[in-house]
């Protein structure tokens, strides 16, 4: 049964398994995997760059890379991690695979556009890589490309911003595709409030992609034109305004952190009910809070710029809105914890990762409030506190969320199980390594360690050393996790259709799914997290 599933599935038999059948496939499942493999490759490269920076910072003074190389390293680390890994991230890889399945659809609304998005993504990646070897080397501006330095530096900023523009275009097309899919292709009986919460997360994400991305697109294009034609918008010597660039940049780049985190929150909302055998607490509150984050998140960009000399009125309004945007996140966290209350909890790997998400992301969220408050922000602005906070939210949130999604849907994607023991070992190492790496950054930052410095005063050395050791533990954990997943994708035990006892539609089709997802036409009669049947099955098993 299971072996025949593998042959008839989208993974294909002999005549549909060549490279061409993948890179020109319009099957959302194959496109999802294409994204996943590329993203993983980029992630590993950027992770190694991160390790390199930590090694350089092990001791004060120059160890083995110069200040300029260090600047280029953190820029490359940021550009790859942001534009090539975490922004496409969960939506493009996991969302592509899971969204139509959860809706009971055969594919996304525009399958060919979906393939085009992937090709645009690859084109953007090639542009970014080309800029590594072009004149002047890779940009040394940081991933934010702040003017006027990004206009004056002789490194290859032009190609890098062009790459980011192209990648943004890919992201917009994915957003349009997903929103249309959600509006048009829900199974019969699935109203908006019967959609799984992961779908709600993708829906809110899609809107942010459509609304915010074009603004940064045009902004980065302007940097390109400034460098080639000298328009003067951001150049003070020509009457331009560098602060205007920062505004335009953050109008997009703050909402985009919600592009990274909202789908991850959706993943967590799927995993918790499945492993607590309880319907989610506060379904509507979680769904609506995603939309609230998307809307309010658009209006808080100024909190990146409290020190540039905005008016006091603007500063306190931005600060107030920043505190407001924390409320829907708080709503989610409380609902998640309430879901666990009196649940029948199984601590399997996806569940452990979901709990890890809640823990790390809570630290990230609370340190975010420290940044959002006007007085404390002046103290910690541009210190490694920001770096710590950012990694707690994006790595601890979106990154761990992606890991959780990969473990949760792994049996569905490959039709095989991973080794639970190796998974748990990896998660343990990641938990220890993560906090050892990033918590010292928070402390150092408060003590005054600036960010983006390749050298520092000796008094910070103990913190840097602990942090660097943490990076080794973290990398070990990630290596074990990747090894476990890669190996199990080919050699793991065959997986049943519904290994976790979850209730959403993707678990009601074979693992891996057939080419057109379902052998029947799915219909929906109740909400997505009703465990009554699963629980009675569990009870029957116990009796036997």
């Amino acid at each position: 049964m299971v072996e025949s599933n593998l042959i008839n599935s989208y993974l294909g038999n002999a005549n549909s398994s060549g490279l061409k059948s993948w890179i020109f496939s319009t099957d959302h499942k194959r496109i999802g995997l294409l994204y996943l493999y590329c993203m993983m490759a980029f992630f590993i490269v950027a992770m190694l760059l991160g390790v390199l920076m930590r090694l350089e910072l092990l001791q004060p003074g120059e160890q083995f890379i110069s200040a300029k190389t260090y600047n280029q390293t953190f820029t490359l680390h940021g550009v790859i991690m942001i534009f090539l890994f975490i922004v496409p991230g969960i939506p493009a890889a996991i969302g592509n695979f899971v969204l139509p399945l959860q809706l009971g659809a055969e594919d996304v609304a525009f399958p060919r556009l979906n393939l085009l998005s992937w090709w645009i993504y690859i084109f953007g990646a090639i542009l970014a890589l080309t800029s590594l070897f072009g004149g002047g080397g890779f940009a040394d501006t940081g991933w934010t490309f702040y003017a006027p330095y990004s206009i004056n530096t002789d490194t290859n900023v032009s190609l890098a911003v062009l790459a980011a523009f192209v990648l943004g275009f890919s992201s917009i097309l994915t957003g349009i595709n997903f929103i249309t899919t959600i509006h048009r292709l829900r199974a019969k009986g699935m109203g908006f409030f019967r959609m799984p919460l992961f779908v709600w997360g993708l829906y809110a994400t899609g809107w942010i992609q459509i609304i915010a991305t074009p603004v940064v697109g045009i902004t980065l294009l302007l940097i390109f034109l400034e460098r080639t034609l000298g328009l003067g918008f951001f150049d003070p010597t020509m009457g331009g305004d560098p602060v205007l660039y920062q505004h335009l940049f953050w109008i997009y780049s703050h909402p985009v952190v919600y592009v990274m985190i909202l789908p991850a929150m959706g993943v967590i909302s799927e995993i918790l009910p499945a492993f607590a055998r309880r319907t989610i607490f506060g379904y509507k509150a979680i769904a609506m809070s995603s939309m609230a984050i998307a809307i309010v998140g658009y209006l808080v960009w100024g909190h990146h710029m409290f020190t540039v000399g905005m008016s006091d009125t603007a500063r306190w309004i931005f600060s107030l809105l920043t505190f407001l945007v924390a409320v829907p996140t708080g709503i989610k966290v409380f609902n998640w914890v309430a879901t666990l209350y009196k649940g029948s909890i199984q601590l399997a790997a996806p569940m452990l990762l979901a709990l890890l998400f809640i823990f790390e992301f809570s630290i990230g969220g609370l340190t975010g409030l420290v940044n959002g408050a006007l007085s404390t922000d002046i103290h910690i602005h541009d210190t490694s506190f920001i770096v710590g906070h950012f990694h707690y939210t994006i790595f601890g949130g979106a990154g761990i969320g992606l890991m959780a999604a990969m473990h949760y849907w792994f049996p569905k994607i490959f039709g095989r199980m991973y080794s639970e023991k190796s998974a748990k070992t990896a998660i343990g190492l990641i938990f220890v390594g993560f906090n050892t790496l990033y918590f010292p950054m928070l402390i150092m930052g408060i003590l005054g360690m600036p960010r983006r410095y390749h050298d520092y005063l000796p008094e910070y050395q103990p913190y840097h050393m602990v942090s660097t050791i943490g990076s080794w533990i973290l990398v070990l954990g990630i290596t074990i996790m990747i090894w476990n997943l890669v190996r199990s994708a080919r050699k793991g035990e065959p997986a049943p259709d519904n290994p976790w006892g979850a209730t959403t539609l993707e678990w009601k089709t074979p693992s891996p799914p057939p080419q057109l997802n379902f052998d029947y036409t799915p219909e929906v009669q109740t909400g997505p997290y009703d465990f009554s049947e699963i629980l009675s099955k569990d009870a029957n098993k116990k009796k036997q």
Partner: protein
């Protein structure tokens, strides 16, 4: 069980899924995001207009209002012809629909020609970013011309894209892929062309009527 499922289809046939409302939904979302692309630049305009209102007033005086107004009339006419094309298609008049698309492309080309003539005339008088002459003027005027070229340039790019899509649509009409029963692509093309039109109507007062 929460999501009861009904097994009523034993074998799923692979058919190309057709959903006209879906296609239009996607197009409207795309238009929205296109509009925001321009909004980003218009935001830059608004900020500098506030900072340099006097210089903008001066610089706008050098633009030819007549050319701007004529181009507006040209573009609005082309919006009319593409709607006629769609109406003809809906009434089953495939040949005429195709002809009106050709006319629309022609009018679009007329618009671009007018635009290029205007640009070259300006450039030959040393009005372009970084030119020696503009550097002698106050900063605000130079920024005005930077904005003028980037916004009208971005708009011209969209005109070219719209015309290219029309050429593809004409090809598909002659191949019989777009028919009176299945013309959502033509309709989306018309939507896109209207966006190009609407954006120009925003740009006209921003540059030509500021004086």
């Amino acid at each position: 069980m929460s999501q009861n499922t009904v097994a009523n289809k034993t074998k799923v046939e692979h058919s190309v899924h057709r959903d006209d409302i879906g296609a239009k939904t996607g197009m409207w979302l795309f238009l929205f995001t296109e509009l925001l692309l321009f909004v980003g630049l218009i935001l830059v305009y608004v900020v500098f207009r506030a900072n340099y209102s006097h210089e903008f007033h001066e610089a706008a005086g050098h633009l030819n209002v007549k050319i701007g107004v004529i181009n507006t009339l040209i573009l609005v006419t082309s919006s009319l012809t593409i709607v006629i094309s769609l109406a003809k298609m809906q009434r089953g008049n495939v040949e005429t629909a195709s002809d009106y698309l050709w006319i629309t492309i022609g009018i679009g080309a007329l618009f671009l020609m007018n635009k290029f003539v205007e640009w070259f005339e300006k450039i030959s008088h040393d009005y372009y970013p970084g030119s020696a002459y503009l550097k002698t003027l106050p900063n605000g005027e130079s920024i005005f011309y930077s904005l003028y070229y980037s916004l009208t340039g971005l708009h011209a790019l969209h005109v070219i894209i719209g015309m290219t899509i029309m050429a593809f649509i004409i090809k598909q009409i002659s191949d019989g892929k777009i028919t009176p029963d299945n013309h959502v692509k033509l309709e989306n093309n018309a939507l896109y062309w209207h966006l190009v039109d609407v954006i120009w109507i925003i740009l006209l007062p921003l540059f030509y009527l500021t004086n």
